[in-house]
Symmetry: C3
Subunit: 309 residues, 3 copies
Amino acid sequence: MNEFFNKDIISIKDFNKDQLEKIFSSTDKIMQLSPTERREICKGKTLGYLFYEPSTRTRLSFDSAMASVGGNSLGIADVSSSSTQKGESLADTVKIMSIYSDVLVLRHTLDGSSRFAAEVSEKPVINAGSGTEEHPTQAIQDLFTMKKEKKKIDGLKIGIVGDLKYGRTVYSLLYGLGNYDVDVRLISPESLRIRSDSVYEIKKKLDFTESTKLEDHIDDLDVLYVTRIQKERFPDEEEYLKVKGSYVVGLDLLKQMKDDSIIMHPLPRIDEISTDVDSTKNAKYFQQAEYGMHTRAALLGLTLNENGF
Amino acid sequence: MNEFFNKDIISIKDFNKDQLEKIFSSTDKIMQLSPTERREICKGKTLGYLFYEPSTRTRLSFDSAMASVGGNSLGIADVSSSSTQKGESLADTVKIMSIYSDVLVLRHTLDGSSRFAAEVSEKPVINAGSGTEEHPTQAIQDLFTMKKEKKKIDGLKIGIVGDLKYGRTVYSLLYGLGNYDVDVRLISPESLRIRSDSVYEIKKKLDFTESTKLEDHIDDLDVLYVTRIQKERFPDEEEYLKVKGSYVVGLDLLKQMKDDSIIMHPLPRIDEISTDVDSTKNAKYFQQAEYGMHTRAALLGLTLNENGF
Amino acid sequence: MNEFFNKDIISIKDFNKDQLEKIFSSTDKIMQLSPTERREICKGKTLGYLFYEPSTRTRLSFDSAMASVGGNSLGIADVSSSSTQKGESLADTVKIMSIYSDVLVLRHTLDGSSRFAAEVSEKPVINAGSGTEEHPTQAIQDLFTMKKEKKKIDGLKIGIVGDLKYGRTVYSLLYGLGNYDVDVRLISPESLRIRSDSVYEIKKKLDFTESTKLEDHIDDLDVLYVTRIQKERFPDEEEYLKVKGSYVVGLDLLKQMKDDSIIMHPLPRIDEISTDVDSTKNAKYFQQAEYGMHTRAALLGLTLNENGF
């Protein structure tokens, strides 16, 4: 029996290195299957999604992942604006959706929502992003991308740049990286540093430095993980413009990077990375999106098959 | 040939007891099939839905039912806000959707809309709720739940409590119960009594009493069917609060009920039933939702297969 | 190898007569297949749609076409109001969707959008309507309808009536008709004549006359192609009412037409054609919608199968 069968995927913190590596090798396997073989994995199974916070991108990634393994998807893309929301509790909505489907995919604004949903659901729950910190499938996608593109995770020098305060992606990635021996540099404007209340927990498993200057690290990194900086996060526009300019990744900056370094981004990208970088061999953000589809397909396959695939 | 093949499902009034029992036994059969066998029933068939009144819950029930028998669904979840609505008539929209699908599922605010749609459609039409009275698939789901959980319908003492004026669910259920020998007690605030213009027709087939007091009946019922009371239905808030309190089903009330009585609710539930009732053996409302998926799957299978399944 | 394999479908101008005829014969073939055979054609393939301009009708036509050949569809029905639209470029959105699907279907307000999308997409792109002129799959559907219903296109006398200024359907149809030897009469109010900047290009391949009077042509036409006249296009209501009245196709007008003439309309129809015409043998607009589903299925099959089907 595979250990992921019928298990919830709530937090990246619940996964140890051994488990992550198993997911990676399952993803490798799924990528080598023919489309026909692949569609046998979740044939006839139904994914039910509940998005309390709309995220077309994540939803489509799950939808296409499920289609690729032969299953289908149904659900509510925007619960808050849907007719379902006649004051019904999360618990009731989850219970009903767990009747209609074999696995639930939940996106919610609140911390703890997925854990709670898993308790009331009869079917396994996959957290597609919740609260301030959790986005386990994105972290798995990101770690898998590093593994595939750099052939290892241990030993990597990883710069994470941009808005490190908001955005659960960075937190989940850091917790995931805590399973590896990596050298992490967090680079952000002062006002968008990682939240101090999370630092303590992350530091227990992972060492990192903090800095405001990308140029101090750029020539040394194996992985540059870029995140979006949203204008509305800044108290005044001047500070925004200053910051924005200094973190934009263009060909100039790329020239200072190691030849075999890779650039990642959880997408959507606005202008943090200029489009002329897209065609370079270092740009891996679209590849990362593709890996996300495959890692999600593997997770669905593991969750829904007692003996794996 | 099965008598439901290619037939519309417009009103619960069109079904006699014999037909209802056939649908119930088809549902029993479908629930015993393996997922693989089940997916053969409507393999490759397409359900087209047109919801002029959005109802995520009913739509998902049909969608998951169709998926479970191997078919797929497409359509318009909210016709009134869709681009289709450029002044196009119901007749034209129905004609087009009947080109794109093998069976149509229609939800509409107006009485008679489904009957009309069935006349212009080349494919069978299933009414997923229309006007003030009709919701035949909900009634079938409710009757099937009673049958399964109480092993019979004839002879049952059934209390229906809450808002009996608005909400087509109650009317369809009463017309459906008219095929059985049951003892029905309608319990509602004075202002939310069943509409007098419907009483005459229902009385032709079904005897019922009306009352405002749930406590007068509670110890005698086999089935307590609870419906939502919406605040906005009341002229003043004080009356609402008074009523609301007196009909809430909690553990106290449950203690007064017969040991083998069941509690039903069409859902969504707001606070008419307190959540501590959910884990009791009497609570059958989530089971009812599951039966709804199976009865709809059976109806789709009967409608789309000349020789049944 | 079939010449349409892995090719984009951007503009009807890219198709010559020979290619159109090949598509028509593939459509004929697909219509003769059993549902089971038909579902083998794109089995397990995924259509990804991106609608920057919502069009439920066109989207459902593609969705049902893809379902009929065994594939499935996913995507964004209204990109502009979706969460995807956090300032992401068309290029990035297209790149991501081309990861999630085997063929892209794009609808966009801007001219050239599909050509651009095809350049950045790794998968073939089908234009489902863009800018002022392009709607190639609608043109193919319209030409196929003429071919099927009149047994030929060459030699037909075709009247196109209504709003010829706005609405890309008419332009695509005219460019498509440019491959045939046809006698085309454009009939519209003065203010809704075909745009002068397009006349020059169309005239290179197709001869047509322009007129404001439908009655001058009505007894001579083989095909009457009716389009919707939108009130909001007129500077004052009086002119609108005058025009509207004179172009409505009713039984009176039909009596003046040749016995074997056909009436077409891209739908939705408001009141340009009165409903009592629907049941006449001349009315082919619903048939046209059905052909649209089949021509799209054929195009999907050709695009996705190296050796055709």
